[in-house]
Subunit: 349 residues, 3 copies
């Protein structure tokens, strides 16, 4: 693919300092880039390589000066890198056909340029909007709606009645709409509570591989616009996750909890049910969130505390045995001092 | 579906205080219920809504008095709610047919009203009892037996020789009968130990989505009657889990461990191998069970301790940095006191 | 299957002390073994059963003496047991045919005695070497290479461009080559960074059920020869795992981390990104590895510390509440002593 620096500026924004007609045919790291490549500097420690790079052009921050180089200056070079990587590596074009080895139910609306691969099952009364792709071995239950330009990877299960938005990506092996874990005690036994709600996944959400997102008992388990989940994440029934939130691998969220927007839960975090995690909260890896967290807080530990406190407490933790010894020694010393003082007092009397 | 309060009492039990011929056509929350709906009060804080509810009848505890209302009084209104929810939301009736796009092996016994959906694989020498449903993309290995009225959801794998009971539910993406993790050291390398046992899942068990339950090395990995597992639970080879036990999401149980009956392991608990967890044990979220736990205990923490101790210890944890300062200050003070006393003693001599 | 002790010695090594023509037709535990069975003693506490066993022969350590018994003496009886278990339980012979219900793409090289079961999808430009088996419902993406004698269990997804070695076993439900979790911030939103690398799995690797191994952003996520992963393990993009390493169930490894050879990560361990875990490191269950670990270390805890320190610290942890009381009491005592000394000093003046 051959383009110009001008065209690149049109795609990623920024101001050209150099020749806008420079021909660009690829993207490479600053030390590997050759003629025809555009490269980028997103981290100040790479600025020293600007002088010697063989790249045809460099995406960089506005304050960079490099006479004789073709620069494309913008505020967020890393974002521009992501956009250029997408530009030079467009996803493969899908055939836009329904394979005859797929099993498609009755009363299914299928939009334009929808691709359904072999061994896909689509239930009755589904809607699959334009440009969407269903990879092999997917199960789409009755009454499911999937918006435009969505990718459902292989071996994904989406059970009946779930609603998937536009430009959603669901990675392989993930389960959407499994029954929530709800039982009423019947003596020592458990009586299953029917899970008659669904799951709703809004536009631009990306769900990692091997996730399990349970349908609501009644109502909707809801993942809002732009949220991204990593692999092996568990989301229980009636959970609501806000917009642009990040759930890192192996996170588990218990039932009816509300997670705000722009929240980050790091890897292996567990969250109890029926609480609220406010907007913009950050939670450290392996934390156990045992109660609601107000907006904007940074927390860690299990049970959680402020990240600052946890940092100090966890540093103290490995000093515990030493501290126990010190306390023990102090106890003895204090006893000795007590008896010494007693003697003095007795002598003085 | 239209029925009467008398008929409802027949289904869920209890004593009618009011008109048994009241027509009931649905179930709703106490604030949403309209004429024709039955509602319930399982939590005392909702009793205040009884007066104003538009419901045709109210399921409640025996001690409730509400003149002019139709009451159905019983000991466990929440259980009655679960049963009514099941009554008003029966699972969809399955067609009871074998789809011609399924691959069914030789010498397979298939009972009455068995449903096998497209793209199901059933190996040789299997038994599928009456009323059981195999959803699309399931793999049932050679020699598997599945009891009556069992539901195997999409994309489930049940490997050869496993035995599944009656009224079992296995949620999507789950794997039953994968090889246990067993190797003999051969210098620095690992020599695989064949896993020639199987998995047995007894009646009324429900297995969540994305579980992995390994087959025994020799013998049986055994999940007993009525036990329920949430999503992404891992159960290693030769584990035995008793009856009516609950394993919450992301729990992992290592090889050859025995878990009793009526046990609860909360989310993300890990359990070491070759131990016994007694009946009626409760384990707090994210605990690490490092040794056997006697029946009836409540434990938390990693490594585990009594829940009471853990509650106190974890409260102390965030005070650790402060405590370290205090201990440090005490140490200095005690030194000062020591030298002060020494001076006094010298002066006194 | 009937063989002789001489033939067994040829398979597992060792020196025969007894009759090499003894007929052997099975393998059993020392208390269960009957005539025709070979048994083994790998643990000294079972030596007492040698005298009374009905076994035809006993595999044992070189220092065992048992007059009148047929012994096969070797250094590692447990390894010999594993090998004999494999000998007496060979994996079922696969048919070596391509089922017509499989969907195989264009330009696919398929070796000799390859088995492809119904409802397998193989993309274009793949290579499937001799003796390899693809179980039902597997998805093999475009351009995937799979070496000889490899087993891909049901419902496995291997996305485009991944490279799988010889004698690899991949258990059901596992996902290889899903997109790494990479985004650039675009204001509050996330812009997906294309993940254009792949996954490479070398010879003799075994991957458990329900694993998720992400493709590299650029380059390769690489699992080296002989490594074994248990179930529900997550390996992020650009991770490299060395040879003969063991990752126990529910381990998660974040992006770009390098794990050495002969490392053991116990169950539910989490590892941060961009660090190095040296060769021969052992990590205790549920640990949180927050930075690089030099070769040969044994570590535990979250954040991790030396295993010795952690053992002591975790023992102290449950004494924390008591210690807090002691410190509080000491503080008061020291204050009393201070004022007592002050009095004495004033009296002495």
């Amino acid at each position: 693919m051959e383009t110009t620096l001008r065209e690149i500026a049109r795609i990623v924004g920024g101001t050209i300092d150099g020749n806008p007609d420079t021909v660009i045919s690829g993207l490479a790291g600053i030390q590997d880039a050759g003629s025809g490549d555009i490269t980028f500097v997103a981290n100040p420690k790479y600025e020293k390589f600007i002088e010697g790079t063989g790249a045809a052009a460099i995406v960089c921050a506005p304050d960079i000066a490099a006479p004789g180089k073709n620069l494309l200056k913008l505020e967020n070079p890393y974002l521009a890198y992501a956009k250029l990587l997408r530009f030079f590596n467009p996803p493969p074009r899908q055939p836009g056909t329904i394979d005859e080895r797929a099993a498609v139910g009755k009363n299914v609306h299928i939009g334009k340029h929808v691709t359904i691969y072999p061994f896909v099952t689509v239930g009755d009364d589904c809607v699959i909007e334009d440009g969407t792709t269903l990879f092999p071995h997917c199960f789409i239950g009755d009454g499911v709606t999937i918006g435009q330009d969505t990718l459902i990877h292989p071996n994904v299960t989406i059970r009946e009645g779930c609603v998937i938005g536009k430009r959603v990506i669901i990675h392989p092996g993930t389960v959407i709409g499994s029954d929530g874990f709800g039982f009423a005690k019947d003596g020592p036994q458990y009586c299953k509570i029917p899970q008659i709600g669904n799951v709703r996944i809004d536009d631009d959400v990306e769900i990692g591989a091997g996730n399990t997102i349970d349908r609501a008992a009644i109502g909707t388990t809801w993942i809002q616009r732009g949220t991204k989940t990593d692999n092996l994440v568990h989301i229980a029934h009636n959970v609501v996750v806000g917009e642009d939130t990040v759930l890192v691998a192996q996170v588990g969220i218990s039932g009816s909890t509300k997670v705000g927007s722009r929240v980050t839960l790091a890897g292996q975090v567990g969250v109890v049910g029926h609480i609220t995690i406010g907007d913009d909260v950050m939670v450290g890896a392996q934390a156990g969130i045992s109660g609601s967290v107000p907006p904007g807080q940074i927390v860690s530990g299990s049970p959680h505390m402020s990240h600052r406190t946890w940092l100090k407490a966890s540093r103290s933790y490995e000093k515990l045995p030493e501290m126990r010894k010190t306390v023990h020694a102090l106890k003895q010393k204090v006893q000795e001092l007590e008896s010494a003082i007693k003697h003095i007092q007795e002598d003085n009397d």
